[in-house]
């Protein structure tokens, strides 16, 4: 179990379109791993393959293995629901449940999954998750407020708290700051660096500068194939592949 996530020969089709071609990746534990590439290269698809959210798309066909914490989540014995609890996801457009309050948003997952045994435990869990997401101080006096009334950056942190409340091992982030203003975005980036102490963070980004800022390891994806993987400092000073070079210096599309 050296790797947090071990993707082996993953192939994904949307209908007839071959979207991910024989992708293999190994993601070490407790670090921020970025997956970068131009639009349409398949990075969001790859992320959703890691928590079996891909199956919600009726056109998607998946072949290959994804091992998380020593378990192949695509094997027959594994329930997709377990995979989704192992690897929680934060989305590009912040999507807290609009009909629920701040408290209820964080509490819903643990309640439905039967993680806590009493209201007191639930309260503590919600507070812990909100603290960890650096949102507690801003909302502690108005937990009953509808989540839709928070600002974009706060909503995104709420979504992170919602994910943390389920105690996942991996946190998947799909372009989490793409829809946020720069100040909110940088708060999320700081949060990522904190989170990697306890979790493995996999972030998809279309912005190579962001990958350079926040990640320890980075993979460059192009047209469904992994072109280059390595330590961020190396990939950004001396990339090995000319496509990678083109992408990071901004000469690609």
């Amino acid at each position: 179990m050296r790797w947090a996530v071990d993707v082996r020969n993953l192939n994904v089709w949307y209908g007839l379109k071959h979207v991910l071609k024989n992708v293999s990746l190994r993601i070490p534990r407790n670090m921020v791993f970025a997956i970068m590439g131009p639009s349409g290269c398949g990075k969001s698809t790859l992320l959703r393959a890691m928590n079996r959210l891909l199956e919600l798309n009726p056109l998607a066909k998946v072949e290959g293995e994804v091992w998380i914490n020593g378990v192949n989540i695509y094997s027959d014995e594994v329930d997709p629901m377990d995979a989704r609890r192992l690897a929680g996801m934060v989305f590009q457009v912040p999507n807290p449940f609009p009909h629920l309050s701040i408290y209820e948003n964080v509490a819903l997952g643990p309640k439905l999954n039967g993680i806590v045994r009493s209201k007191k435990e639930l309260d503590e869990l919600v507070e812990w998750a909100l603290r960890k997401a650096y949102l507690w101080d801003e909302v502690k006096d108005e937990l009953k407020k509808p989540a839709a009334r928070l600002s974009g950056g706060q909503q995104q942190r709420l979504c992170i708290a919602r994910t943390l409340a389920l105690k996942p091992k991996i946190i998947l982030m799909d372009e989490p700051t793409a829809n946020l203003d720069p100040v909110a975005a940088s708060k999320i980036e700081e949060l990522m660096l904190e989170l990697k102490e306890d979790y493995t963070v996999v972030i998809v980004t279309h912005n190579p500068q962001q990958a350079a800022r926040v990640s320890d390891y980075v993979a460059f994806l192009y047209m469904g194939e992994v072109i280059e993987v390595g330590e961020t400092s190396n990939v950004f000073t001396t990339p090995k592949h000319e496509l990678t070079e083109k992408y990071v210096v901004g000469k690609m599309g």
């Binding site: 190579p208 500068q209 350079a212 950004f236 000073t237 001396t238 990339p239 990678t244 070079e245 990071v248 210096v249 901004g250 000469k251």
Partner: protein
């Protein structure tokens, strides 16, 4: 189709300054050595060129920092800018050594000295400095390798001349001895800096400072 990025204008300007520095360094070196060989001293000219080099070094340093702060360059862009910073230092040193050579030719009476071996060395080093400047501007790795290889010849001639000086020591007049030794030293250092510039070309092109010897 090449995309023109905001960074590209800045880098072109930076390279332009380095190009000017390279020309000035060659000129300063040439004139300084002429002073030694012909006795016609061009101290003012060389001093002015050296000053110019110092000034351009400042300018290029500022520009490089500004480009890094504004554009967050990576990969080849980053290596190129870093190399320009390094090379501007090397070229300014060449200017400084040229000035030292010139001053030597004034302080020490050099009329009548036999500097033929020195001249041989000078020709090689001048070639190195000229060509490496071109190699850097055009990022020509082959040319850089050639310059690098000449360093061996420089070392050989250096040893040879030094031995020669020690042998002839008693027969030559002291001023020629002193002047010869000093200028030899400066030539050797100038050759070293030319090699550093060649290494920078390799760094830009391959990311590695080591030029593979063929």
């Amino acid at each position: 189709m090449s995309v023109r990025r905001p960074l590209d204008t800045g880098v072109e300007r930076l390279k332009g300054i380095i190009g000017d520095m390279a020309a000035a360094a060659v000129e300063a070196f040439r004139r300084a050595m002429e002073s030694v060989f012909t006795g016609k001293v061009a101290l003012e000219d060389v001093r002015m060129l050296s000053e110019q080099l110092r000034f351009m070094r400042e300018e290029s340093g500022q520009l490089a920092i500004e480009l890094i702060a504004r554009f967050q360059p990576v990969a080849t862009d980053l290596r190129r800018i870093r190399s320009c910073l390094q090379v501007s230092y090397d070229l300014s040193r060449i200017g400084r050594y040229s000035l030292d050579i010139c001053e030597t030719s004034i302080l020490v009476p050099v009329m009548g000295c036999d500097f033929s071996k020195l001249r041989q060395l000078y020709i090689i080093v001048l070639y190195m400095v000229r060509e490496v400047g071109r190699a850097f501007i055009f990022e020509d790795l082959d040319l850089a390798k050639k310059v690098r290889e000449l360093d061996d010849d420089v070392d050989a001639l250096y040893d040879d001349y030094l031995k020669g000086l020690l042998e002839r020591g008693q027969k030559d007049n002291p001023p020629c001895l002193i002047a010869g030794t000093l200028v030899l030293r400066y030539l050797e250092r100038i050759a070293d800096h030319a090699c550093y510039i060649a290494d920078a070309v390799s760094y830009i092109r391959t990311g590695s400072l080591e030029i593979e010897k063929e």
